[in-house]
């Protein structure tokens, strides 16, 4: 095993948490049961790494096998790094009928045509998602396996999720994907986050949606609190409406975990008390960023508890309605 291969394996094992290591190696299927038994998982990790390196060297495992292990690990734990959502546009006639082998061949052929030194691995996961791992090189260097790009695509849907992509590789990946899926173009969906499933659910509207209804009773009956007869609310309709409107805007039940919403403002400054900044012709550029461990949950709570006024402003509700978390706001609208 070459030096770079060893380094790759070392880095990978360092990355995988110790508790998961045994299951990952079991799934890898390149080490026999006897080999797995010979490894002592109670030793400190660096000792185990040495043994593992020696074992793999004996077996003559190559970069190809190691990238398989990496892919297994990433598929099990996709929530590392930022995932970005993209949408495919202008489907051609045979786009809905693309199936796996055709897609695989087309994608590999296209990408290797564009760059000669690129390493591609395609795998179909149990939940019908196609995972693609691409390691980029260029015409003179070998592919860099330390910084791969992962792409997730569900066939017959117009959505693609990518992580680990640089701006240099973006146009090449775009072109290969567009040609392989038989669409016209790919555009940025302006949705990014750390949790892959959340991004996917938000773009494909797979969270529990609530639709406007003239009779809000269903939501009200969920918790019939026995009211003390001495306590009376003067303005009860407000409380009932709020929960309904919050759920209409953001959804019910468990919400997809989004970390940030960014609003880039390119609007003119408007505040009558500040004469120096108001009345300028150029827009006042500012960025408003909301961040939280679970942003949609926090926004829904803000609305349902009265901190944010109802009806919910379209600036906030378009996070779920349009499925994006990066907005550019100009004077004419979003």
């Amino acid at each position: 095993m070459g030096g770079s291969t060893k380094l790759l394996l070392q880095r990978l094992i360092r990355r995988i948490p110790y508790q998961m290591l045994q299951t990952m190696l079991g799934k890898w299927a390149h080490l026999s049961n006897a080999d797995l038994h010979s490894l002592n998982f109670t030793q400190p990790k660096w000792v185990l790494t040495e043994h593992l390196l020696a074992l793999c060297e004996e077996k003559g495992l190559t970069v190809k096998h190691i990238t398989e292990l990496e892919m297994i690990y990433i598929i099990e734990n996709p929530n590392q790094g930022m995932w970005h959502g993209f949408q495919l546009l202008d489907a051609e006639e045979d786009a809905p009928s693309i199936e796996l082998t055709q897609f695989k061949e087309q994608f590999k052929a296209n990408l290797t045509e564009l760059i000669s030194h690129v390493s591609i691995k395609i795998k179909k996961h149990t939940d019908e998602a196609i995972w693609i791992r691409v390691a980029w090189g260029d015409n003179f260097t070998k592919p860099n396996h330390l910084k791969p790009t992962y792409v997730v695509h569900h066939l017959q849907t117009p959505y693609v999720f990518v992580t680990g992509m640089t701006s240099k590789d973006k146009p090449l990946l775009n072109q290969a994907l567009v040609l392989a899926t038989r669409y016209g173009s790919m555009k940025d969906a302006h949705l990014s986050g750390r949790n892959l499933i959340a991004i996917r659910d938000l773009l494909t509207r797979q969270y529990q949606q609530v639709f406007p209804t003239k009779h809000p009773k269903p939501l009200q009956e969920k918790n019939p609190v026995p009211r003390n007869p001495n306590i009376e609310n003067e303005q009860p309709e407000n409380t009932e409406n709020r929960l309904q409107m919050a759920c209409e805007a953001f959804g019910d039940g468990t919400l997809p975990q989004l970390q940030k919403a960014v609003y880039k403002l390119e609007t003119k400054f408007r505040d009558n008390s500040n004469k120096t900044l108001t009345g300028r012709k150029e827009p006042f550029r500012g960025v408003v960023e909301f961040s939280s461990t679970n942003l949609l949950e926090s926004l829904r709570h803000c609305v349902s508890s009265g901190m944010a006024s109802t009806p919910v402003t379209p600036l906030l509700s378009s996070i779920t309605q349009k499925g994006r978390n990066y907005f550019v706001i100009t004077d004419k609208g979003v």
């Binding site: 001495n230 306590i231 009376e232 003067e234 303005q235």
Partner: protein, 185 residues
Amino acid sequence: MSLLKPFSKLPGLNTANILLVENEEQFQQKLADTVVLQEKTVNVNVRLARSLPLPMENEESRPRIDLVVFIIHLTSELSFQSAETSLKYLDPGYFQGKVCFLVTSARNVSVPPERLVSVRKLAASLHCPLLCAEDQTTEGVTTAAHRLLAILKVAAGLVPMATGLYLSTLTRCTVPSDIDQQNFE
């Protein structure tokens, strides 16, 4: 304008009515439950509202309100502004011992100190008491309820030899003249 008037209705026998006004509608529910549980000798009715003016539909069934409490969360500017706008809908007769300000999160480090100063100035200009309450623990809620009940009973005329106006001259909020220069270095 539909002002809330203090003496336009007859009082009930051994009854005291308190109105809790809070923009966020969070603390008032807990406080209401505790107040009703704590008081055994007097019949206490609690009315909850988000802001004034109160809806006209309830005008008939609403009893005479003896004490109006404005709950202001210092963590939110909106809370203070909502309380300020609600003040306009109170008849001036209320400001003689029948209004009280209750403030939460006064010890919170992230709260700008200017906000507490403005609330103090507002309470002092209206000659009303300003209470600080801790709304996150049950002891805090119980203590706040206890204090409110003490003021309520006087305001409802249930304590002999004491009236709301008399009590308010003792408990009203005062603002030292150098409050704007105060710093806590």
